[in-house]
Each structure stands twice: as C-alpha cells, then as structure tokens.
Amino acid sequence: MLGGRYSVSGRSQKYTEAPIKVLLAKPAIDGHDRGIFVLAKAFRDAGMDVIYAGLLPTPEEVVDTAINEDVDVIALSLLNGAHMTAFRNVMEILKKRGVQDIAVVGGGIIPDEDKPALEKMGITGNFGPGTPLNVIIDHIKTRAREIRKMRENEY
C-alpha cells in the first residue's frame, strides 16, 4: 500500500533522529506566496528538511510530491478562499492512494466556521494570520512525532 517506501532496512530505527521532512504547498491557483516562503525559511532554521511545491500545483501533484519525497508532513496554505475545496481534494487523493502516514496541517485565511470541517477531514492547525512561528513549528513537530510513532508500530 505504501509503495515500498519504508523497505530500506534499518530505516525505521532512524525515524526519530532524521530531520522532519515537510512539504509546503499551495494546492490551487493562488499566487500569495509571502507567507509560505517565511514558513519555508523558519522550518529550515528549526532543523527541518523542507520541500516547496512551487506555485500552482494541482492537488494531485501535491500528493505525488509528498509520496515521492517521503515526507512526514504536508503543510497546506491558501489565502484565496478556496481551502474548503482544495484542501478536501488533497485529503481525498491521499485517501484514494491509501496514504495514512502523512500528517496534513493547514493555514491561511481560514474563517473560524470552516475549522471544524477541516479538522474532521484530518487537517490540523489551520493557523490564521499573526500566529507566532514557534506555535506552528511546535505543532508540526508534534504531528511528525505522532506519524513516526505510528510508522514504528506498523513496522
């Protein structure tokens, strides 16, 4: 199911030491990229291995990259109001591909009333403007830890 991603021997023992690998992506047609570059640099400075999906990826492309790059966390950001559609598409494609061991966190201009629905899809965080970087970083670390624990138990 996981496409042999963890077949490298001894890999699972190293989970806890390897840097957290995070994919940053804006899965729609949204050019507001100031925030995502700030996050990329902040995550890097916090010791993470960061991949940026580039502009205008489709949800399919985001999921492909996440799987190919073997990330712990996908961090989605949109400022254009399309999060309910685009974030859901990402989650559905992950599900279709049977991926359960990648955490998905969200952020952007997300109205409070949308947050419960996003949480229900499995997207956590859903940070708004003005959130301190360390709050976001801590959350990513927590989610990555959970994911790695889950993987260890699986293998």
């Binding site: 729609a28 047609i29 949204d30 050019g31 507001h32 990229d33 100031r34 570059f37 700030v38 990329a40 640099k41 902040a42 960061v50 940026y52 580039g54 502009l55 205008l56 489709t58 254009n80 109001g81 399309a82 309910m84 559609t85 685009a86 598409n89 201009i109 109205p111 409070d112 708004g128 403007p129 003005g130 301190p132 970087l133 360390n134």
Partner: protein, 567 residues
C-alpha cells in the same frame, strides 16, 4: 566605470554637507542629558534598514535643496505633479471592489457611487486572473472568491450595467489577461455607443511585477511583454485617455519588500516599458504621459511620504536625462495608492481603521492622484458593505475635515523628510545600477534575484516581529486573550454555480462559426511578432469567445511558465 545610475547617486551624495552645530549640540546637550537620565540610545531603522537619526537639521538638506525640491507642477515634480494639487481637485477616491458574480459586483459599485466614490476599480477572481473560465477544473472552489468572475464579454456587460462609461474612469486590476479584459472594455464601450476617445481608465497590466511578486501569469515573460506592447501601441493610436499600464509596486511591497525595494523595482519596471515603447518605434512623448504607477502606503509614515516624493523626482530625472523626454507630462509620475493589506491584523480588527487612516494620510501628503483605503475586516475576508463604507469615509474625512488638503506639499522642506527623500533616491539608483549590471530587469526577474531579495527582507521582518523588536499592537503586544468573531462577507458556491450556468447560456447563444474563425485568425496573428494583436482579440471578444478560449490560443503558441526556484 560609472554608469548613469552611479553618477546620479553620487551627485546626490556629493550635495550633502555637514552641520557642525548639530555635532556641538550633541556633545553639549544631548549626550549629557542621556547620561543623566540613564537613556541608552541604540540605532533605529526604518523598513528599508536605513538608520534614522534622532534629529535632522538644516545641515541635512542638500546644498542645492531649492532646485531639487522645486515647485509643484514643475520639473522635477518633488512637490506634486499639479500646480494647485488638492486645492484644485481632490484625489480620486477609488475603492478596489469585486466579488461573486458580475451582478453582485454591479450592486457594490453602485453602492459606492451612491456613497461618493469618484472612480471605479475592479477586482477579479483568481480564475479570471489566470485566464481560466468559471467552468474550468482549475477554477473549482475559486469562482468569485477573491474578486468578480469574468468568463466572457457577457460578464463585463453585467458588471457595468447602468453605469455610464463616458462619465466614470475605471481601473482594472488585471495582469496576465490584461489585453483580453481591455478588449472587453473597449468592445463594451463600442456596444454602448461610446467612442473610444471618450473612455478613460487604467489597466494594471504590469507583468514584470507579476513574476517578481504577485505571481499571476499565463505565459513566459516575452509573450506577455509583447501583449503589453500591443496595448501600448493600440491605445496610443485609438484610446487617448486610456492608461495602458499601471506600473505597480503595491504587490512587490505586499510580497515582503522594503519601501526602497518597492521604489526601485517598480521604477526599474517602468523604465523597461519606456524602452519597449521607444523600441516599438514610438516617440517617448507620445506614450510616456499615459504611463501610470501604483504604490503601497504602509505604516512607517515619513518613510512612505519620502518614497512617493523620491519616485516622482527619479522618474522626472530619468525621463528627461536618459530617455530625452521633452514634454513635462512624460516626466510627471502620476500614481494610485492603496493602503497596506499586510499591516492589517486579524487580531483586534477595529485597530485597522487607525492603521488605514495613517497610511491614507501618508499617501495624501505624498501627493497621490487616487486612493484605495482598505477595510478593517480584510484580514478576515473580502469586506462587507459597512466596512467598505468606513474605509471610504476615512478618505472623505481626510479630504474635507482635516485641512491637510489646503496647502500643497505641507511637509516639503522638513529636514527629515527632504533628507530621507534624497537617501531613498540614492538607494534606488544603487539598485538600478545593480540591475543593469545583471543584464537588465528581465534577466533579474528570470534569475529570481528580485524575488530572493524580497523573500529575504520579508523573513527578516518576520523574525523581528517574533523577537518583539518590531511591535504589532494586538499581535505581539497588548494582546487580547479572547478575540470575538466579527461579521464577514460570505461568498457561497452559489456564485460558482450561477456563473457556470450563465456561461453555458452564452455558449448556446453565440455563432460558433464566428467563434472559431476569430480564434483561428488570432492564432495566425500571434505567430507573427510584428502584428498588433488588439484588433484580433477585440474581434474574438465581440463574438463571445470566452476568456479561456482566447487565453488558450496564447498557451498553444507561447507555452507556459515555471518560476525560477528561490527556495
């Protein structure tokens, strides 16, 4: 060897002198006072990382200050481009508006006109900005969210229903598909029986800043630049009151640049368009007067005012000395301003009214020709009617209650402001020189140099906020534990569904043979770089070809664009 820019920078630097009395005062009065009161002074900087002194004196003015500052309505236009500025006429109050369906937006425009707005400014949604129709797979969930959706001429007809295009000037924030939307506006005027000489307005169209900052494009840079050239040439010949381009720093700033970077990168883009017009065989004085600008007004009050004044002086100097303009109108930089969206906070949103007021005042004291004031709820969503009204009233209060419009350039002559204006000029000239050494602005854009500069500045700024060196009230100081939700504008999926069925109708009722013929003719015309595409695009629009159908012809010929990696 020094290039033109190095020489200009040196001229200003060499015009400064020293103020011995200031040094004496520091020794004798300030330093002892600081010592006595236990105040430890440290360097303070503005957004452009320029150190700011505690006091400015006569010695900070350039020796030739009188000539450099000049008079309003006269070269080098430091004090404003019109002789009587706001005594003669207030700036145009132009609120950037657009959401949902064309009918929703039409209602909002009429609401603003009723409330005293004096110019229109249309915001388009993401699919429109990227050249996709509302029924495209890529448009899913985005129709009408960030602006109004336009998929064909029919939508433009609805936006401007009941609005007299000969009486109102319209600004359209449209970049990648600017030629198509411009064509739609021209055809709309034609259908309403208004001659093209009578319509006035501005399209943003500045594609260079898209690659630098706003990141909304369809094709590689050269293809878009050709379309801009065609608009420039067509408008110069047929639509004399049309500003075919608004060279925009707003987005460069919002993407994270400093004030100086905004100033320098924007003007560098502007010079490129001037050279493009000259290379297309036009006389600089035939088209330069219709070049306009669009700047950000952020929260560091004096820095912003200095930026606007420096922009005017640089433009005048360069147009005259480098591009040999003779007509003063070519040298007069006219600009629209929008208050900074970035400075709006989600926390304690009412504070945003105060921020917007200060930023709007900087724009007015900087001599803007038109102004958009942000609404206090815009860190949450697109603004409600009530929030927009407060924003518009802010401008009306500035114009009609405060008296700041009574005197032209009332801050002119301020030691601090004049010095800062000069220093911003110097820093901008340094950037122009660097860009020239990189082989020009197009190379600087394609290599990602400018994008990287902006991302670096933005990250530094964010770290200062995190360390609480830069204070944002309500965000990292004076924080409220409980933020109460405010009422916001909701755009539901009804807009998307409505637009899709409306587009279906348009397609049912049009003459398909005319559609395919005009698209084929556009295709042929695009293959020859010498052909002006405007008449061909207008013909497509007349036949109700959709935005995406027209855009796709370009996609076939020019291909798409992937940005340089900067991270």
């Amino acid at each position: 060897m020094d290039n033109f820019w190095d020489i200009k920078a040196k001229e200003i630097m060499q015009s400064f002198s020293e103020d011995k009395n200031y040094e004496k005062w520091k020794e004798a009065v300030l330093n002892p006072w600081n010592k006595k009161t236990g105040y430890k002074d440290k360097t303070r900087e503005n957004s452009s990382s320029m150190p700011v002194k505690e006091l400015y004196t006569a010695g900070d003015l350039p020796r030739d200050a009188a000539e450099r500052i000049g008079y309003p309505g006269e070269y080098p236009f430091t004090r404003g481009i019109y002789p009587n500025m706001y005594r003669g006429r207030n700036w145009t109050m132009r609120m950037f508006s657009g959401f949902g369906t064309p009918d929703d937006t039409n209602k909002r425009l009429k609401y603003l006109i009723e409330n005293g707005e004096t110019g229109l400014s249309i915001a388009f949604d993401m699919p429109t900005l990227y050249g996709y129709d509302c029924d495209s797979k890529r448009a899913e969930g985005e129709v009408g969210k960030c602006g109004v959706n336009v998929s064909s001429l029919h939508d433009m007809e609805r936006i401007f229903d009941g609005i007299d295009l000969s009486k109102v000037s319209t600004s359209m924030t449209i970049n990648a598909p600017a030629a198509i939307l411009t064509a739609m506006y021209f055809v709309l005027a034609e259908k309403k029986g208004i001659p093209l000489e009578k319509i006035s307005g501005t399209v943003q169209a500045d594609i260079l800043k898209e690659y630098i900052a706003q990141k909304e494009w369809m094709y590689p840079p050269e293809a878009h630049l050709r379309l801009i050239r065609d608009m420039l040439v067509y408008s110069t010949e047929h639509v004399p009151k049309w500003n075919y381009i608004s060279v925009s720093g707003y987005h460069i700033r919002e993407a994270g640049s400093s004030a100086v970077q905004e100033l320098a990168f924007t003007l560098a883009d502007g010079f490129y368009y001037i050279e493009m017009g000259i290379n297309a065989g036009l006389d600089v004085d035939d088209f330069a007067p219709r070049t306009s600008f669009f700047f950000n007004s952020s929260i560091n009050f004096f820095e912003e005012i200095a930026k606007f004044r420096a922009a005017r002086r640089i433009w005048a100097t360069v147009l005259k000395e480098k591009y040999n303009a003779k007509n003063p109108k070519s040298m007069a930089l006219k600009f629209h301003t929008q208050t900074s969206g970035y400075t709006l906070t989600w926390q304690q949103p009412l504070n945003n009214i105060v921020r917007t007021t200060i930023e709007a005042m900087a724009a007015v004291l900087g001599g803007t020709q038109s102004l958009h004031t942000n609404s206090y709820d815009e860190a949450w969503a697109l603004p409600t009617d009530d929030a927009v009204k407060v924003a518009l009233r802010t401008q009306q209060i500035l114009a009609e209650e405060t008296g700041i419009t009574d005197v032209i350039d009332p801050l002119g002559g301020s030691y601090y402001l004049e010095r800062l204006t000069c220093e911003m000029e110097i820093e901008a000239y340094k950037y122009f020189s660097e860009i020239e050494k990189m082989g020009g602005i197009l190379n600087a854009v394609k290599s990602g140099y400018l994008q990287k500069e902006i991302a670096d500045t933005s990250y530094k700024k964010q770290l200062k906020i995190e360390r609480e060196e830069d204070i944002i009230v309500g965000v990292n100081k004076y924080v409220d534990r409980d933020e109460k939700p405010i009422n916001t504008l909701k755009i539901t999926d009804v807009a998307e569904k409505g637009q899709i069925s409306s587009l279906e109708n348009v397609k049912k009722n049009r003459d398909e043979s005319k559609v395919s013929r005009s698209l084929e003719e556009l295709h042929k015309a695009m293959e020859d770089d010498r052909v002006n595409l405007m008449p061909y695009i207008m013909e497509c629009v007349r036949n109700y070809c959709t935005l995406e159908e027209i855009s796709n012809v370009g996609r076939e010929i020019f291909g798409e664009w992937k940005e340089p990696k900067i991270y």
